[in-house]
Each structure stands twice: as structure tokens, then as C-alpha cells.
């Protein structure tokens, strides 16, 4: 294997208060190779990327570019080395247009070169097979589209190294396939691609080399020759062994983690009784860049999981918010246990047992600077037991937090740690712990496993399944088909704000949903 590394890490270490995010990591990235980084939430993948992108300064170790030691003191210096990065969290300016975002950083005080930028924009649009309106305000685009802009920007100067931190987390299967094509094409052009994902299938499908991080340390690597020698099953088993150090005894675990042999929920739903949740022609008014609801209706029975499939940005957000009471419907009715709740607020609905687990864990789900404990009680400030006559009983609030942390296995230094310091997976556990209490009757999940690693994904899905088995009525909004197929009893598809045909989750459901998602049969 003659390819010399274009970029190398030598003993890179990065500490954060309380954690060693990267612990003496040495890695080589080669031209024309797609190098997959795998690891649990909090394993240190993004930190490593941050170091390469000049966003983080390593505490120890060195970086070699074409064998030459370099210091990447700022993003500019990273770009200067031909490294293009698509960060895990979109780093674009919402108030600027697509074109302006692409022009950002191409100059200091000089005039903007719209014509030239537009030309390059069209070239790249071709190459990436995307169609975006260059004059659209970025904030008005769906996360998926925003990510396409990010990729375009990362490729702008035809970089030698392209880093993609969990790019597929908000793409449709179709989108993922296209991204795969792009990566392969770039590999063909001799670009070194660094690709981070939590989905083993993608890792095997696209990766020439797989490196696994665990608790900040590099715990193993599958080189091209070994990888090509293995079939997908062997590869995934090996990766899982590396990731979780679980001896191959836990085959069952490995299987579910790998998402193989999905057991559909065998729950037999009794639909004779009255539906606990009845939605009738719900419609909303949209602000710019949002997709409103258009006459959405469905029934949901206790113990049932209603899956909502669809490409991101087809009204799922509005549906969730309208059901939760965060957004008032322009028309339509919602009945919970026979009671009309269309006019009631979040608090009232929560007291009636309606719960909502948002997909925006940081945006609205948590208050980052506040402690885990506070975030755990955020939706019931003032309740008896934790408060007396409106006076906070902090002792009890922290006690309550410790219970939840134990029960939901939240990995946090303490209940007083600011929630913003936790990794994505653990923040999600905080949300689950907050919502899935005893009094819950109906739960709405919005992309519950988005950005979670295998283990946390499994945990979250188990929670959903257990809940349903215990009689919870569940609305499960997800862009991941296999997740829906694994968990849902019936699946509806959102397309342009409408809920197209709700069908039973049986064999061959994939094709029909696939069609509905593109509006074909809608």
C-alpha cells in the first residue's frame, strides 16, 4: 500500500475539564481513501476534528501535513493546508443567502465577486447533484439542504482533505446514497476523506479504512485489506467488539446493535376501545422557511406506536409542536382521552399525561448552562414534593436528579454539571428521563435517536418499545426507515404538510413508504 499520508496525527491529546477527549491519538489519513471514524457519543471524534480544523488546540502531540510538522492555530491555517470541514453542528450564517455564505471567508475588505461565485456554485451543484436556490436565505433551508451548502463550501477550493462529521444524521436514505457517490468521486480525484458516522452499514459501505475511538483513545483500526477480506457481518461484529469491548459472547447484543434481525413489535393493539388521541384536520400557518400542516388527522390507541416517516422539513416539526401545545393550530381538533385539548397549553396537556421529546435537544430541550438536576425538573417547576409553597427544596431536587441519573444511566460527573457539557447521547437521556415518568399516557418522539451512537440508540429504542408494551400511546417521528419498521405498528408519511396514507407495518412496507415520501402516491 504505497499511498503516503497527506495528514497525520502523532500522540494528539486534548483535555477538557473532567474529561480527556483525545488521549494520545496517532492516525494517518491518505489521499484517495475514505477513512471512517467510529465511536460512542463522547468518544472524542468531533474533538479530533476540531483539532484538525483549527477549532481546538491540542494539549500535546503534533500534526503532520505531507510528513511536515505543522501547527494549526486557527481555522484559516487549517483551510490553508487544504483541509475542508463539515462540522457536526451547522456553521453557517442564517441571515445570509446561500451564495453569501459561500463567499464568506474568501476575502477581507474587497468587493464581493458574485458572478464568479455563482459559476463555481453551479459547477459544484452539478458535481454534487444538488439543486439549491443561491439567493435563498440560509435560515429558510432544511437542515439537510443547509448541510449540502456546508459540503459545497468545504469542497470549494477542491481541498485535499475533506472532513465530514456525522453528515448523514439528517439525510434521507436517498441523500445518504448520493453523499456516498460524492465521496467515492472525490476519492477518485485523490481527496482524503474523513467520514464520521454512527451507522455501521454506512461505515462498511463507504469506508476503505475504519478507525474506532473509545473514551478518547484509539482502540483499533480495520485497514483496507482486512476490510475487503471481511463481509459486512464480520466487519460489524469486529467494530462492535472494538467499540464496546464486549467479547463476542454477547452475540445478541451485537446483532441488535448492528441493527440486524430486527424484531417487529408483536404488540397486538386493541382498537375496539376509544382512541386515546384523536387528531382531526389540523392545519397551521407557516413562518418563512417552515412547512405548515395541512388537514392532518389520525387516531392513536393505548399501547400503539404510530410512526411518522418523511423527508425532514415536511411538517413533522409543526405536527409535534401542535400536539404538544407549543404551537396553536389554525384549525382542527385534538382530543386526548375524549377531552378536547386544542385550546389548552403545554402545562395542561402535560398534566393530562401528554409528553413531547423534542429533536432540538440543545435549542429548546435544555438550558445548557443550567445543571442536569434543574433540566430534569424544567417542565414541572413548582410541583409539590420538590417545592413547598413555591420555595425550592434544592436538596430534594438534587436527590430526585440522582435517582433519574441512576435509572436512565446518564453519564455525568454529577447532577450539578451544566447539561451543555454532556455529550449528545447523554443529553438525550436527560430528556427521556424527564418525559418518561409514571404519569405519561401519550408520548411524542421527534427523531429520538438522531445523532446517538449505537448503544444510546439501542437504549432509546428500548425505552420506546418498553413504554408501548406498558400501554403508552406513542407518536414516533423519524427520518430513519429502519427505526420505524423496528418500532411502529402503523406508519404514516408526511409530505408537504399532509399526512399521506397510514399503513400497517408489514412486509414490503418500505417500497410503499418510499413512494409516499416522494409524494408519488400522495
Amino acid at each position: 500500500m504505497g499511498k503516503a499520508p497527506v495528514l497525520s496525527l502523532r500522540g494528539v491529546t486534548k483535555r477538557f475539564p473532567g474529561v480527556i477527549a483525545n488521549d494520545n491519538i496517532s492516525l494517518d489519513f491518505r489521499a484517495g481513501e475514505i477513512h471512517v471514524l467510529l465511536g460512542e457519543n463522547g468518544a472524542g471524534k468531533s474533538t479530533l476534528i476540531g483539532v484538525l480544523a483549527g477549532m481546538q488546540q491540542p494539549d500535546a502531540g503534533e500534526i503532520l501535513s505531507h510528513g511536515r510538522a505543522v501547527r494549526i492555530g486557527s481555522p484559516r491555517e487549517s483551510l490553508g493546508l487544504g483541509i475542508g470541514t463539515v462540522f457536526q453542528h451547522v456553521l453557517l450564517v442564517p441571515s445570509l443567502t446561500v451564495l453569501e455564505n459561500l463567499m464568506l471567508g474568501r476575502g477581507r475588505a474587497s468587493r464581493l465577486d458574485r458572478a464568479g461565485t455563482l459559476r463555481r456554485f453551479h459547477d459544484l451543484s452539478q458535481a454534487l447533484a444538488v439543486s439549491l436556490d443561491p439567493e435563498a436565505k440560509l435560515g429558510a433551508l432544511s437542515l439537510g439542504q443547509q448541510q449540502q451548502v456546508e459540503i459545497m463550501r468545504a469542497l470549494w477550493r477542491g481541498e485535499g482533505v475533506l472532513i465530514l462529521d456525522e453528515p448523514t444524521s439528517m439525510l434521507t436514505p436517498q441523500g445518504v446514497r448520493e453523499l456516498g457517490e460524492v465521496m467515492r468521486r472525490l476519492r477518485g480525484q485523490g481527496v482524503a476523506v474523513i467520514f464520521i458516522t454512527h451507522k455501521l452499514r454506512e461505515a462498511y459501505e463507504f469506508g476503505d479504512r475504519i478507525s474506532v475511538l473509545r473514551l478518547g483513545r484509539l482502540v483499533g483500526q480495520l485497514g483496507p485489506e482486512r476490510l475487503s477480506a471481511m463481509n459486512q457481518e464480520q466487519a460489524t461484529d469486529e467494530v462492535i467488539r472494538l467499540m464496546f469491548g464486549s467479547p463476542s459472547g454477547h452475540q445478541g447484543e451485537a446483532e441488535t446493535l448492528a441493527g440486524r434481525g430486527i424484531r417487529r413489535r408483536a404488540g397486538i393493539i386493541d382498537r375496539s376501545g376509544e382512541a386515546i388521541l384523536r387528531a382531526r384536520d389540523l392545519s397551521t400557518v407557516a413562518e418563512t422557511g417552515e412547512c405548515p400542516l395541512r388537514e392532518v388527522g389520525f387516531d392513536l390507541w393505548p399501547g400503539e406506536v404510530l410512526g411518522i416517516a418523511g423527508v425532514d422539513g415536511n411538517g413533522q416539526k409543526h405536527l409535534a409542536e401542535v400536539l404538544a401545545g407549543q404551537r396553536m393550530a389554525a384549525q382542527g381538533s385534538i382530543r386526548l382521552g375524549g377531552v378536547e385539548i386544542g385550546g389548552t397549553d403545554v402545562g395542561a396537556r402535560r398534566r393530562m399525561g401528554l409528553r413531547y421529546i423534542t429533536d432540538e435537544r440543545l435549542g429548546e430541550g435544555t438550558v445548557q448552562p443550567f445543571s442536569v438536576a434543574t433540566n430534569l425538573v424544567m417542565k414541572e417547576i413548582g410541583v409539590a414534593g420538590l417545592w413547598r409553597h413555591g420555595v425550592s427544596l434544592w436538596g430534594r431536587i438534587h436527590g430526585h436528579a440522582r435517582e433519574r441519573i441512576r435509572e436512565f444511566d446518564i453519564r455525568t460527573p454529577s447532577e450539578r454539571t451544566p447539561v451543555g457539557r454532556l455529550s449528545g447521547g447523554n443529553i438525550q437521556k436527560v430528556l427521556l428521563a424527564r418525559e418518561l415518568g409514571s404519569a405519561a399516557r401519550v408520548v411524542i418522539f421527534n427523531k429520538p435517536t438522531y445523532g446517538l451512537d449505537l448503544q444510546n440508540t439501542k437504549l432509546a429504542r428500548d425505552r420506546i418499545r418498553e413504554g408501548a408494551d406498558a400501554g403508552l400511546a406513542t407518536v414516533l417521528i423519524s427520518t430513519e426507515l429502519d427505526e420505524l419498521i423496528e418500532l411502529a405498528d402503523r406508519i404514516g408519511v408526511m409530505f408537504q404538510g399532509r399526512l399521506a396514507g397510514i399503513i400497517d407495518n408489514r412486509e414490503g412496507v418500505e417500497q410503499r413508504i418510499g413512494l409516499l415520501m416522494t409524494g408519488a402516491a400522495a
Partner: protein, 343 residues
């Protein structure tokens, strides 16, 4: 213990630096810094007569600070406290003398205090509604209302509330015996005690109650507040009312305790000092008391020292500016230290 010592040290060093910088200016003015600072200390802190003045100065600053703490913790930048303070003061000064004859001293004092708070709150209503209903940024609106309030106060003094007995444009005067009672035989009025109690209560309200926690959630992440089902609009208006009400109470107390009347064009601009101090104290009511006291010593003592040493009083402004900068520096370094260690 040693942590406390370290903390004290971390505060003392920058103060020393600021005083050092001030000393250079004093030398340039041909004054002996040692003498100057000695005078400041003696008048502001070490003599009972001076200390009384220092303590008396706390009342309006603490009440305004209390109002600011409520607003700032709720993420609402009420920068209009001066207008709220002033209007409340004018109304108090107009009401007091008119009422005292009819209903007697203590009822008057209570009515005036309440009226002042009400006026302050009322003056924040428009910004509150604009913020709650349209999300209009309150920095602009409160600043505007503050300018408006200052002018309106003058109009009120010069036209409806003018004391006909004097040629000077000012309200009638609430006579000394009718003002807030003084503590023992000192010149400190009961309003100071009220102010201290109020700010401590506000501190508890914000840190130890459900209401306070709700406000803090709204302040830290409004979207999370909506998600959690908090009525952000109502909380916003409540915050404004409470914050401005306290500023108004400050105005009332200052009149009932010290002035007895308001003269046209009077505007102490306490907010300009209280706002930075509240930030330096990180919205902590107890810490605010310390900062406000420190600066009260500086103001009372500095004025005396300037007079005794023939230094123009402008120098006090320079000193205040220097201290704010260096204290902000501590706050910053301390913050950095916490960031590094906290986990």
C-alpha cells in the same frame, strides 16, 4: 477558609492596581495620593458621621440594583431605571406634602412608597408589552422611555406639581419630621433597612423559589421556556413590573428619606453606577451590597477628600471608571478560573 482568603486577595489586588493608577493621576494633579486616599477612607468609612452618609447613600442604589437583578436574571435588559426612578420620585414628592396633612405621617409614607413603585412599574408597561407581544428589544424601548421619563418629570415639576410658594421650579417639600424615621439618633433613615431587606428578599426570590427559577429559565433560553410550557409573555411583563417597581420604590424612598422634594432638572443617574455593579456581582444580591457599599464609601469620601486637597471633583469620575475596569478584570479572571475547574 483559604479559598475565602484567596478570593479576598483576588479582589484586593485589582483594587490596589486601580488606586495605583488613580495615584498617578493625583500626582499629575500635584496632590499626594496617600493623603487623598486617607481622607477618602476617614470620611467614607472610619468616622461615624461619614459612615452615616455612606450608609444613607445605599438606599436608592440597592433598591435600583434589586430591580436590575430581577430583570437581568430574567434576561431582560431594563436600562430605563433612571426614568422609572425619577418619575416615581416626582410623584412621591407631589403626593407626600399633599397627603400628610390629611392622613398623617405613616399612612403617607406607605401610600407614597406604594405609589412610587406603581409609577415605576407603569412606566415600564409599554416596553414590557412591546417585548412580550412583538419581541421588540427592550434595550431600545427602555432607554427611550428613560429619556421620555426624564423630560416628563421636568414638565410635571414645572407645571402641575410646582410649589407656588417658591420661584424655584420644584415640588412642595415634605418636611423633615414627616419623612422616613431615622435610626436611633443617626441621620440614617429607615429606608436603608428596607433596601437591604428588599435586596436580600429579591436574592432569595431569584435563587430559592419556583418563580425565580421560571424567570431564570426564560432568561437563559426563552425557547426552552416555551417548550417547558412557561407563559413567557406573562413572566416577561411580571419581570418588568417587578424590576421597574423596585426602581420606582428606590425613587420614593430617596425622596421620603432624604430629599422631601424634587427640583427641575434633577437626575442623579444612579442607574449608571448600579448597572455595572450588578454585573460585577454576577446578579448576586449579597455581593451587590458589598460593591454598592464600597462605591458609596468612594463617593462620600472622594468628595470630601477632593475638597480638602483642592482636587477637582472630576477626579472621582476617573477613579470610579478605573475601579470598574479593574473589578471587571477580576470578574473576568475569576470566571475563566471557574470555567477551567468546573465540570
Amino acid at each position: 477558609m483559604s479559598r475565602v482568603a484567596a478570593g479576598v486577595l483576588r479582589t484586593l489586588i485589582p483594587i490596589a492596581l486601580a488606586l495605583g493608577a488613580g495615584a498617578l493621576v493625583l500626582l499629575a494633579l500635584g496632590a499626594d495620593p496617600i493623603d487623598y486616599y486617607a481622607f477618602v477612607l476617614r470620611r467614607g468609612l472610619l468616622t461615624w458621621s461619614g459612615l452615616q452618609e455612606t450608609i444613607t447613600k445605599l438606599a436608592p442604589l440597592l433598591l435600583i440594583s434589586a430591580g436590575l437583578i430581577v430583570a437581568f436574571r430574567a434576561g431582560i435588559w431594563n436600562l430605563g431605571v433612571d426614568g422609572q426612578f425619577l418619575l416615581a420620585a416626582v410623584v412621591t414628592a407631589a403626593l407626600g406634602p399633599a397627603l400628610v396633612g390629611a392622613i398623617g405621617r405613616y399612612p403617607t409614607l406607605i401610600v407614597c412608597a406604594l405609589a412610587g413603585a406603581a409609577v415605576g412599574a407603569a412606566w415600564s408597561l409599554l416596553p414590557a408589552i412591546l417585548k412580550a407581544r412583538y419581541g421588540l428589544n427592550e434595550i431600545i424601548t427602555t432607554l427611550m422611555m428613560s429619556f421620555l421619563g426624564t423630560s416628563l418629570a421636568n414638565v410635571l415639576i414645572k407645571l402641575p406639581f410646582k410649589d407656588p410658594a417658591t420661584t424655584v421650579p420644584q415640588t412642595e417639600t415634605l418636611l423633615v419630621p414627616d419623612r422616613l424615621p431615622r435610626l436611633f439618633d443617626s441621620t440614617i433613615h429607615a429606608g436603608v433597612v428596607l433596601a437591604v431587606i428588599v435586596i436580600l428578599l429579591v436574592h432569595l426570590l431569584m435563587t430559592r423559589t419556583a418563580f425565580g427559577l421560571r424567570l431564570q429559565v426564560v432568561g437563559a433560553n426563552p425557547r426552552a421556556a416555551v417548550h417547558a410550557g412557561l407563559n413567557v409573555g406573562r413572566l416577561t411583563i411580571a419581570t418588568f413590573a417587578l424590576s421597574a417597581g423596585l426602581a420606582g420604590l428606590g425613587g420614593a424612598v430617596e425622596i421620603l428619606g432624604v430629599w422631601g422634594t424634587v427640583r427641575a432638572d434633577w437626575n442623579p443617574k444612579f442607574g449608571l453606577l448600579a448597572i455595572p455593579l450588578v454585573f460585577l456581582a454576577r446578579f448576586n444580591g449579597i455581593a451587590v451590597i458589598g460593591f454598592v457599599f464600597f462605591f458609596a464609601v468612594l463617593l462620600i469620601g472622594g468628595e470630601s477628600a477632593s475638597r480638602r486637597m483642592g482636587v477637582p471633583t472630576f477626579f472621582i469620575l476617573v477613579l470610579v471608571g478605573l475601579l470598574l475596569v479593574f473589578l471587571a478584570l477580576v470578574e473576568y479572571l475569576d470566571h475563566r478560573r471557574r470555567e477551567r475547574t468546573k465540570s
